[in-house]
């Protein structure tokens, strides 16, 4: 019996996983080279959700691009909104109002919590801990209702405008947030009790999908993926934008760069984001939420209805679009998955000449083969899960 077994041919097998494999949330294909269960190589094919974001933007006015950015990383649409609007504002040289800066920070951090909850919850449920996954979804739902009350939609928020935000926070927002955070903290501590010392979870996550510090930097990884290897790089700290330099928060770091580190970093970042929102709510000043600059911001409705100047100015902005001075600019914000950058070129007309997004998860997918080399096939799932590839952002 034994002699036959040793004679089994050992040759590599090619396996195609995807494009719509049930455990890969997002349409993506892995061309695997396997030796038994061991992954020798993994070739990632992306692009199944390509919608021509960059090209569509060239047909739209600067304002009309905002709904498109909602649909990039649809786990945290508000951060995309903020990133895009701030890139345009940087090109214009527009300084937004203090209240608006705080609102943008609050909404970005809520979105970041969303993103991390989605990522951690889905990964946990793919590893069988579906209860923890549902607890995180519950936390997400509670925050989602707040987002809906602010923006008017749950996912397709379209909340940020160039030069401000659409409207102010609703009445009673601070109280809602406080109540929601109490529940979220409770749910997270339940998840912590379910997962953090759970041997099955530890066995599946710890030491899997490891990437070294040098490799992570060489591939240009950012966000939780990079910080899990111990590199202290967070756009909010390295190049502070909005009012992040006035708020007190820490950048959680990992040590090994494996999936477990990524998970812990993300959970700790949720705690930090909660802290940021609480501080921002204490400090938020009253005042207008849009800048008073008739070249870029629509006038208030009363002025449109009541005065001929207001009406003309309104018509001009809508018919011709905002005129952004010619030039090019790169601006990055810290998205849920890493550095989310917008590179925009303007030729001085009402429409963008070129918009290019630096999507963090696209770059993370380019390093995926490094992470899974030598792992088992089953380890692909948590590794992919912790990257939190979002099709809309990766494929654009």
């Amino acid at each position: 019996m034994n002699s036959e077994r040793t004679d089994l041919p050992i040759e590599t097998m090619d396996l195609q996983m995807g494009p719509s494999h049930p455990a890969t949330h997002g349409t993506i294909k892995f061309n695997l080279k396997l030796e038994g269960e061991k992954v020798l190589d993994c070739d990632v094919e992306v692009g199944y959700l390509h919608r021509g974001f960059a090209k569509s933007c060239e047909q739209a006015t600067w304002t009309q691009v905002i709904p498109y950015t909602d649909r990039l990383n649809y786990a945290s649409p508000l951060i995309n909104n903020v990133g895009y609007a701030m890139a345009v504002e940087k090109l214009i040289g527009l300084e937004i109002t203090p209240r608006c800066q705080y609102i943008r920070v609050i909404m970005s951090e809520l979105s970041r919590i969303f993103d991390h909850l989605t990522c951690c919850g889905m990964t946990a449920s793919e590893l069988g801990a579906i209860t923890a996954g549902f607890y995180m979804l519950e936390a997400r739902e509670i925050l989602m209702r707040i987002i809906e009350a602010v923006c008017g939609a749950r996912l397709t928020v379209t909340y940020v405008r160039i030069g401000g935000v659409k409207h102010d926070l609703p009445y009673g927002f601070a109280g809602d947030i406080e109540r929601a955070f109490r529940i979220v903290r409770k749910l997270l501590s339940d998840c912590d009790r379910l997962l953090s010392r759970n041997r099955i979870f530890l066995d599946r996550m710890s030491g899997v999908g490891t990437i070294s510090e040098e490799m992570a930097i060489a591939y240009g990884l950012t966000g939780p993926l990079l910080r899990s290897t111990g590199v202290r790089y967070d756009v909010r700290k390295a190049h502070p934008y909005l009012v992040y330099d006035q708020l007190d928060f820490e950048v959680p770091l990992g040590t090994k760069g494996d999936n477990y580190d990524r998970f812990v970093v993300r959970i700790q970042e949720i705690e930090q984001s909660v802290r940021i929102v609480e501080q921002a709510l204490k400090k938020i000043p009253p005042g207008p939420v849009t800048v008073d600059d008739p070249r870029f911001v629509l006038p208030e409705k009363e002025r449109v209805h009541g005065s001929i100047e207001g009406l003309m100015h309104h018509f001009k902005i809508i018919m011709e679009g905002i005129k952004v001075p010619p030039g090019e600019v790169y601006f990055a914000v810290e998205g849920g998955n890493g550095e989310l950058g917008f590179y925009i070129v303007s030729d001085g007309s009402g429409k963008p000449y070129r918009i290019r997004v630096r999507p963090p998860s696209f770059i993370a997918m380019s390093a995926f083969h490094e992470m899974v080399k030598g792992c088992m096939v089953a380890d692909l799932i948590p590794t992919f899960g912790m990257i939190n590839m979002i099709g809309g952002e990766c494929d654009r």
Partner: protein, 189 residues
């Protein structure tokens, strides 16, 4: 949450952690079960049981800012406020508003829309049309979510009459009434 560096005896044993997990989920289960039972008898309504909403029997109210189905607002005499200025159609990123302008024979100042159609299959409910309208002629404050079934593409094209009628309905029945009617259509399918 902290990283557990080395699995100690506690983690290796499986059992204590299994029991702890059962305790966590058990607490939640019994709490939800009890609260749901109380709700059944009409008690403790202000305590939230499980987060799931038993739609369409129960529902959450939409917030004030919610962008729902469109309506064309009306003058006091019942005609549409819209002056066919095309600003909404220009601002719309989905290019889903179709307007045909006409002139009143006796009014040289204003135009009116002969046709005003929104293709809701293309509409992304961004609200730019509402922002763009200079005379408050279009609004999305009906508090009703978009229709999501129909038998042909034409069922999703909302024309001027429908949009104006929605304003009248809203005035007559209020948001709740409008929503009830909307949901009742589903229950009859």
């Amino acid at each position: 949450m902290k990283r557990v560096e080395e699995m100690g005896l506690w983690e290796r044993l499986y059992f204590p952690e299994v029991l702890r997990g059962l305790w966590v989920t058990g607490c939640r289960f019994w709490r939800n079960l009890i609260v749901h039972t109380l709700h059944l008898f009409g008690l403790a309504k202000d305590i939230q049981a499980a987060i799931t909403v038993q739609y369409p029997d129960e529902r959450l109210a939409y917030p004030e800012t919610f962008r729902g189905r469109h309506r064309l607002t009306l003058h006091d005499d019942g005609s549409a406020k819209c002056t066919a200025c095309f600003l909404c159609a220009t601002a719309c990123p989905a290019e889903c508003i179709y307007i045909e302008a006409g002139e009143y024979p006796d009014n040289p100042v204003e135009k009116y829309p002969v046709r005003y159609e929104i293709d809701t299959l293309r509409c992304i409910y961004c609200g730019f049309c509402v922002e763009a309208c200079p005379c408050d002629a279009i609004r999305m404050d009906t508090g009703v979510h978009p229709a999501n079934w129909g038998f042909s593409r034409q069922d999703f094209v909302e024309n001027k009459e429908l949009l104006m009628d929605r304003s009248r309905q809203l005035q007559a029945k209020g948001r709740e009434g409008l929503y009830e009617e909307h949901v009742r259509r589903y229950q009859h399918v």
